[in-house]
């Protein structure tokens, strides 16, 4: 946490907000049995303004909905928030058949009697965790109605046939959603109104440079800058609908650098992690043209990591 805290200080995040985070942590220290659930993030989220908005919402006791296109760091920020506030995290990936039983809990037989097996939302509420509701708009709105009382001022969860529990004060829910993915739908107003909505911006060139440098400190600056520009060019191409956003994959770009670090030539690494994400042969040609205009295909590990 200290590293993340220092990172945010260096990023220039408002000191009062950071002081608020410290106070929160002191007031709600993580229980030892929950420590394994407190994230230890591999990547840090870059974007001072977004950090400040998110911290303000969490400190004010609000639940957060991170909405934005692909590769804007929604999950990175969610994990980072869990780590910064030192809270155990329950990650729930939503899908079309997500239902109330899956979220809250269900009956089971423990050998002697029918008992309640808690779901992630119940655990999160009872243990004061951060619930990350990933791709919340993949689920049907009816399935999410069970969350309404937990997400609004009532802050309680009533399980039919069992007791009603109140959410611990440190419990927060952070939902993510992407409007563009296939199978997603619009959230209904009742649910949306229970979140503070943060429109996630696309990562800036400057922040992407920092992100790469932090993860790969020995990367050649020249190559790093070209990769960042390449990402921007793919982004523009996807925005103009010349290609789908399959190849617009920040994880893919970072993975490609990892493969180069392992000794793969740049062409093969970018093919595996970016070009081949598209399953359309013509589109792959367009993506290769963009790469060819930025990065040579025969860069070795020594070229990319001269140190």
């Amino acid at each position: 946490m200290d590293q993340l805290y220092t990172f945010l200080e260096a990023e220039g995040v408002d000191a009062a907000l950071l002081a608020g985070v410290r106070a929160f942590r002191e007031r709600y220290p993580a229980e030892p049995e929950n420590l394994p659930r407190v994230p230890d993030p591999e990547y840090y989220y870059y974007g001072r303004n977004t950090w400040e908005l998110a911290l303000a919402a969490i400190l004010a006791g609000k639940n957060l909905l991170l909405a934005g296109p692909k590769a804007t760091g929604k999950n990175v920020l969610s994990e980072n928030l869990g780590a910064l506030f030192g809270r155990p995290v329950w990650n729930v990936s939503f899908h079309i058949n997500t239902d109330a039983a899956y979220l809250v809990g269900t009956d089971t037989y423990d050998g002697t009697k029918v008992s309640f097996r808690p779901g992630p939302i119940w655990l999160c509420a009872a243990k004061g965790g951060f619930g990350i509701l990933d791709e919340i708009n993949m689920a049907k709105n009816e399935a999410l109605a069970v969350l309404h009382a937990a997400l609004d001022f009532r802050r309680s969860l009533d399980v039919p046939g069992y007791e009603k529990i109140d959410l611990r004060p440190e419990t927060r829910f952070i939902a993510t959603m992407n409007y563009g993915y296939a199978g997603t739908r619009d959230l209904n107003e009742a649910l949306t109104s229970r979140f503070a909505v943060l429109d996630m911006p696309v990562i800036t060139e400057d922040n992407l440079q920092k992100l790469i440098s932090r993860r790969y400190p020995t990367i050649s600056l020249k190559i790093r800058d070209q990769l960042v520009k390449l990402y921007g060019e793919l982004e523009r191409k996807a925005e103009s609908a010349e290609i789908s956003d399959a190849a617009l994959d920040l994880r893919g770009l970072l993975d490609a650098i990892a493969l180069m670090e392992q000794g793969l030539r740049s062409g093969s690494a970018l093919d595996m992690c970016i070009v081949n994400k598209s399953f359309d042969a013509y589109e792959r040609g367009l993506i290769r043209d963009v790469i060819a205009a930025r990065v040579p295909t025969d860069l070795t590990r020594a070229d990319v990591f001269p140190a």
Partner: protein
């Protein structure tokens, strides 16, 4: 080197240019291609970089100002060499790979030069070639040609500095033409006068390419696929199909993909009753040798139409990609919401009160219900496109829309087959444009309109084709894209004392209605997308019942198809 017109690889070339320019909001006036038609990566980048660093509109005005001169092509090539150097110097610090790409382009120049035939060499301007050779030799570190003092001065003048702005470049271009060719762009009124029409001609080339989308084959009358009228001339003119008709159908549409005995069985089953005077032909479009001039002419028209279809799809690539995404998402959502997982007994989940006694009595813990495994009924979709003459004015649109539907279903891994149907010389021809197992949908581009439409027979034939493993355990959905006006030159057979009646109007509708009913009785879900005149709406209602949607414009097809699928799937769920 630089062409002023668009060729087949235009979209890729445009993308390279847009990417280099860093914006996508302009239509590039120049694109570069190699002699094999592939886009020239480096020179397209140069064209894009000119957009990025300089004011292309002003440069374009300059290029137009000498368009009427006989040396215009030569000037173009010279000036692009100058621009290449200028934008290369400007961009290099930001894009270090440019040096390698430039060198690669140089090597490609020398490789291409060696492959040029003598005739191709004769078409080239030797002074330009010398300058290009000199430029690329310098770039690649090769030994260049020996230059005369004038040629050296030209080479020097064509090194437009990277420090120049648009005004500087225009000055350099102007002084180059004045200094070496005593040509002042825009000076001569005659030149100006000639330049404008020529520039128009260049554009016209492009316009003509577009206009060709509007060129229609098939006018006039007669029972001929490329010249079909939509009204019957009168009674009693039908003559049963003979060997020459079969030869004609084979020559035009390709060999039949069923064996003789299969065809016999199919015709014995289907060509009865209202269709007693008809024959069938099922083809995949595999062409055969023929000398029949009529057939060759139709094949040539079909081939032209294929190119038009492809060009149309390429022109609307963005719309096509967006529609495929939208439609596949809609269908996916429909499937997800129509078919829930069925509950099955489990040891945890929602308790079943009626089975709770089993816990203490039988010690059976499986008294709960949980969502079972995937229970979505497996589907396969047949798309039947009316390819009769009435579709003549929207062939490209229909081919593209069919492509969008097929691609969307393929994307969701729903097997889809697409066929076009038309009737000609008493043969109802079912042309398979995309078969179940084909994953690419390029065959849709073969769609062309011509002939009559005997809807009932086509629908029934499609339902009767053996689909082997594909249909096993799957619900078969048949979507017909129709104008609701069945119409054929082969009449309904005479019955009793009645004379033959034309296959049109009321009789044709009733025949199609019976065919659809018979197919539904076999468990096939049949629905129609109606795209036609309001006067035929009643026909569609009678033939397909409520299982149809009407679209007014072709771009509503995605919406129409998803609505229709939803309707059919709900029916399926209720059964």
């Amino acid at each position: 080197m630089i062409k002023k017109n668009y060729t087949g690889s235009a979209r890729r070339a445009r993308n390279i240019i847009w990417n280099a320019a860093g914006r996508y909001d302009f239509d590039p006036p120049f694109m570069a291609f190699f002699s094999n038609g592939h886009p020239d990566q480096y020179f397209n980048m140069v064209a894009g970089l000119v957009q990025k660093w300089l004011d292309m509109d002003r440069l374009w005005d300059f290029f137009q100002s000498y368009g009427g001169d006989r040396r215009a092509d030569e000037f173009d090539d010279y000036l692009w060499l100058g621009l290449e150097n200028c934008v290369y110097e400007k961009e290099l610090p930001e894009r270090p790979i440019l040096e390698a790409l430039r060198c690669e382009r140089g090597e490609r120049f020398f490789a291409e030069q060696q492959q040029l035939s003598r005739q191709q060499m004769e078409y080239q301007s030797m002074p330009v070639l010398t300058q290009q050779e000199y430029r690329w030799a310098g770039v690649c570190g090769r030994r260049g040609p020996l230059l005369t003092p004038r040629e050296k001065r030209i080479a020097e003048a064509l090194r437009f500095s990277g420090a120049l702005d648009t005004d500087g470049v225009l000055d350099a271009m102007r002084s180059f033409l004045q200094g070496f060719f005593r040509f002042t762009p825009g000076e001569s009124a005659e030149t100006r006068h000639r330049a404008t029409p020529l520039a128009k001609l260049l554009f016209k080339h492009e316009h003509r390419r577009r206009d060709r989308l509007l060129v229609r084959v098939g006018t006039g009358e007669g029972d001929h696929p490329k010249a079909m009228q939509q009204r019957h001339a009168g009674l009693g003119r039908h003559v049963g199909p003979g060997p020459e008709d079969e030869a004609y159908v084979r020559a035009v549409f390709g060999r039949c993909c069923l064996t003789d005995s299969e065809m016999r069985i199919l015709e014995n089953e289907l060509c009865v009753g209202d269709d007693g005077l008809c024959r069938l032909w099922v083809t995949r479009g595999e062409s055969t040798d023929t000398q029949d001039r009529d057939a060759l002419e139709v094949r040539e028209s079909a081939s032209r139409q294929k190119k038009l279809n492809e060009a149309f799809r390429s022109e609307h690539a963005t719309m096509v990609a967006g529609s495929v995404r939208a439609l596949s998402t809609r269908i996916d959502t429909i499937f997800s919401s129509c078919f829930k997982h069925l509950p099955e007994p489990a040891r945890a989940g929602r308790i079943r009160p009626e089975a709770a006694y089993r816990l203490p009595v039988l010690n059976d813990a499986a008294v709960f219900l949980k969502d079972g495994e995937e229970t979505e009924p497996e589907l396969c979709v047949d798309l039947l496109l009316d390819a009769s003459q009435s579709r003549m004015h929207s062939q490209e649109v229909l081919a593209t829309e069919g492509y969008i539907i097929a691609r969307s279903l393929e994307k969701l891994r729903i097997p889809v087959r697409v066929c076009a149907f038309r009737s000609i010389r008493s043969y109802t021809v079912l042309e398979i444009l995309k078969d179940w197992k084909q994953s690419d949908c390029e065959g849709l581009m073969r769609y062309f309109a011509g002939g009559w439409n005997r809807d009932g027979l086509a629908v029934e034939t499609l339902g009767r084709l053996d689909d082997g493993a594909v249909l096993r355990d799957r619900q078969h959905i048949l979507l017909v894209l129709t104008d609701g006006s069945p119409n054929d030159s082969t009449p309904l057979p005479s019955s009793g004392l009645l004379l033959e009646r034309e296959y049109e109007g009321e009789a044709a509708v009733r025949s199609a209605q019976d065919a659809v009913r018979r197919l539904r009785e076999k468990g096939v879900r049949v629905g129609a997308v109606f795209h036609g005149n309001t006067s035929h709406l009643e026909n569609v209602h009678r033939i397909y019942g409520h299982a149809y949607v009407r679209i007014q414009k072709a771009n509503q097809l995605a919406q129409g198809v998803s609505d229709l699928l939803l309707m059919l799937l709900r029916e399926l769920r209720q059964d």
